[in-house]
């Protein structure tokens, strides 16, 4: 299959999944106990104006399927609804917070890539006690929830040593990056451990291949062999896992942001759930799911570019 039809088909599949998930997120309101109107306004009740506003926003006077189409139309125009608690447009709330989450996830991704690949390669090449130590640390890292790491980091580096701030996301720029160091580490521990495992296995497998033996027999420098023959070929599983990991970080950020009281999408979501601010809950969940699906799709496509041996569109 050539490239253009393949990409088109992938895009079609992606749009279909997005359509279905958006319908599910839309339908959440109707899974809730009681009438949609009562659920959105909650125990606060509502003035006639509020009732009219909610009815208009959710198109409650229309038939069910028309409501979905109208809601989707609003969505595509960037109208995500109106927050009852913040008395603000949800799109404004989200756009002011998405930066923190994005910075947190990117920083964690960089840490995961650096630490995971370095530790895995070290374990595979060093062998012996180095391998034992790295594998044991990786097993413990994989078993540690991000919020436990977060609490431990705050306890040691913020409260104990005072090297880092305890809470908040700073005043922007370098200060924000400084505030994000501990959260990013907390978010990355489990994934870095997992990537280290994958890297170790990939490097070990690649190191035993014949082309590596040939390179060794030809007398190439060991460093050159590791960089150009072993690591290069191990990249395929590593990049795949790294990509899929970044997608899961989007959900993991929800927990970490709440530990460190960062003003990102995750803390917005949890507060909105507790305050029963349904428009915000719906919008943030939609953003998280769309980001998750899109990142996964991008990884899938990139994967076929990295390894020319994979035929386009083959399902395996």
């Amino acid at each position: 299959m050539s490239l253009a039809p393949y990409l088109l088909r992938r895009l079609g599949g992606l749009l279909l999944v997005l359509l279905v998930t958006s319908f599910i997120v839309f339908g959440l309101l109707y899974l809730a106990p009681g009438s949609p109107l009562a659920f959105i306004l909650g125990p606060r009740g509502g003035t006639p104006e509020q009732i009219a506003a909610v009815t208009e926003q959710y198109h409650l006077d229309d038939p069910f399927l028309l409501r979905y189409v109208a809601w989707l139309g609003d969505l595509l125009r960037g109208d995500l609804g109106y927050s009852i608690v913040y008395r603000q447009d949800v799109s404004a709330l989200i756009s002011s917070r998405v930066g923190t989450t994005l910075a947190l996830v990117s920083m964690a991704a960089i840490i995961i890539a650096l630490v995971g690949i370095a530790a895995g390669t070290f374990a595979a090449l060093r062998g012996g006690w180095g391998d034992q130590l790295t594998s044991t640390l990786a097993a413990v890292g994989l078993s540690t929830p991000s919020f436990v790491v977060g609490v431990a980091l705050i306890s040691v580096f913020a409260v104990g040593l005072g090297w880092f701030p305890t809470f908040g996301s700073g005043t922007g720029g370098v200060d924000t990056l400084y505030h994000l160091v501990l959260p990013a580490v907390a978010l990355s521990v489990a994934s870095a451990a997992y990537l280290a495992r994958i890297t170790r296995a990939a490097v070990l497998e690649e190191g035993g291949r014949e082309h590596v033996q040939t390179a060794t027999a030809r007398g190439l420098a060991p460093g050159h062999i590791v960089r150009h023959h072993v690591l290069r070929n191990s990249l395929i599983p590593i990049v795949t896992v790294l990509g899929l990991t970044i997608a899961t970080l989007i959900a993991g950020a929800v927990v970490v942001e709440n530990v460190f009281a960062l003003d990102g999408l995750g803390s917005l979501l949890v507060r909105a759930i507790l305050q029963r601010d349904f428009a915000v809950v719906q919008a943030v969940i939609l953003v998280l799911v769309v980001a998750f699906v899109v990142v996964n799709a991008i990884v899938d496509v990139l994967y076929t570019f990295i390894d020319p041996r994979i035929t386009l569109g083959s399902r395996q």
Binding site: A32, P145, F147, I154, V159, V255, A272, I273, F278
Partner: protein, 296 residues
């Protein structure tokens, strides 16, 4: 006339015992040394949790406000929390929910996922396509988001979170089991059973299911580790188990407030126990997975 029956009873009992040691031996072989250690630790924690009323030195909810935030002492081996409750007793009681909640999640997900996978594998064609499609959609939502959605609709409680997470784990079980059952379905013994006139349901449950069972169990145990982490995380966020119930995720949360005041005992104890539980489960899951693979 009684002699033969008691004889056969005795024989049956001997055979039973032999099977028991055989089972123990086989399990030990599959787990390896580290796996056996992990299984033993997990068993001790589970037994302590199950017999919490007998094992725990104090009532987990009894607040001794005069002794609040006291360090480890002979009276309170791990010290007390901000309300003066005995941390060790709360750990023992908290392990109940931390083990039972995720256990329930995995049981539900495994039963539903396995049934879906077996159905898809046996029927094939359109049913298979439909099931694969539903699984793809479920995969599009990250696990913890299912739990958050459930809480947003039905309010924070253990039952809601368990329900949400159970749905989240269905596709992981179903994907693995579907692949394995499709492989079994093409085996000659399945055609043989079909030729003997066994029904589709019969073949699925008496032939295919026993053969994919090691994979089902391995996948269930591996998922359990993640479920423990996610359920504890949701409780930590204040959206799962509600205070004053003792739960390890909640204890890290309340211990976190004490950490900021310089008393890390509760957070350290609860965090360590969670890591220990997940480590044991993950090790056992890894061993079961590799032994299930090597049976192929």
């Amino acid at each position: 006339m009684t002699t033969p029956s008691t004889m056969s009873l005795a024989v049956a009992r001997v055979r039973d015992r032999r099977r028991a040691t055989g089972f123990a031996r086989r399990t030990a072989d599959r787990l390896g040394v580290v796996g056996c250690i992990a299984a033993t630790i997990l068993l001790v924690i589970a037994l302590a949790a199950a017999f919490a009323p007998l094992v725990a030195p104090y009532d987990p909810d009894y607040p001794d406000l005069l002794a609040s935030l006291s360090g480890p002492s002979p009276a309170h081996l791990l010290g007390t929390d901000a309300l003066g409750r005995d941390i060790l007793s709360r750990l023992i009681w908290g392990s109940r929910i931390t083990l039972a909640g995720p256990g329930l999640v995995i049981v539900i997900a495994t039963v539903v996922g396995t049934l879906l996978a077996l159905l898809a594998a046996w029927r094939g064609g359109r049913t298979d396509t439909a099931v694969a499609w539903v699984l793809d959609i479920l995969f599009a939502v990250p696990g913890i988001v299912f739990a958050l959605i459930a809480v947003a609709i039905w309010g924070p409680s253990l039952a809601t979170v368990v329900g949400g997470l159970a749905i989240a784990y269905v596709p992981y079980v179903a994907r693995v089991v579907r692949g394995a059952s499709l492989r079994e379905r093409r085996m000659p013994y399945v055609s043989a059973a079909w030729l003997q006139g066994q029904s589709g349901t019969g073949i699925t449950f008496t032939q295919i299911l026993p053969n994919v069972q090691p994979i089902v169990v391995a996948q269930a145990v591996s998922s359990l580790g993640f479920a423990v982490i996610e359920l504890a995380a949701v409780s930590f966020l204040g959206l799962g188990v509600q205070p004053p119930t003792a739960d390890l995720g909640l204890m890290v949360k309340s211990g976190f407030d004490s950490v900021l005041r310089g008393h890390p005992a509760e957070a350290i104890a609860a965090g360590t126990l969670i890591v220990l539980i997940v480590w044991c489960v993950t090790v056992i899951g890894d061993r079961l997975t590799s032994s299930a693979r090597s049976m192929r």
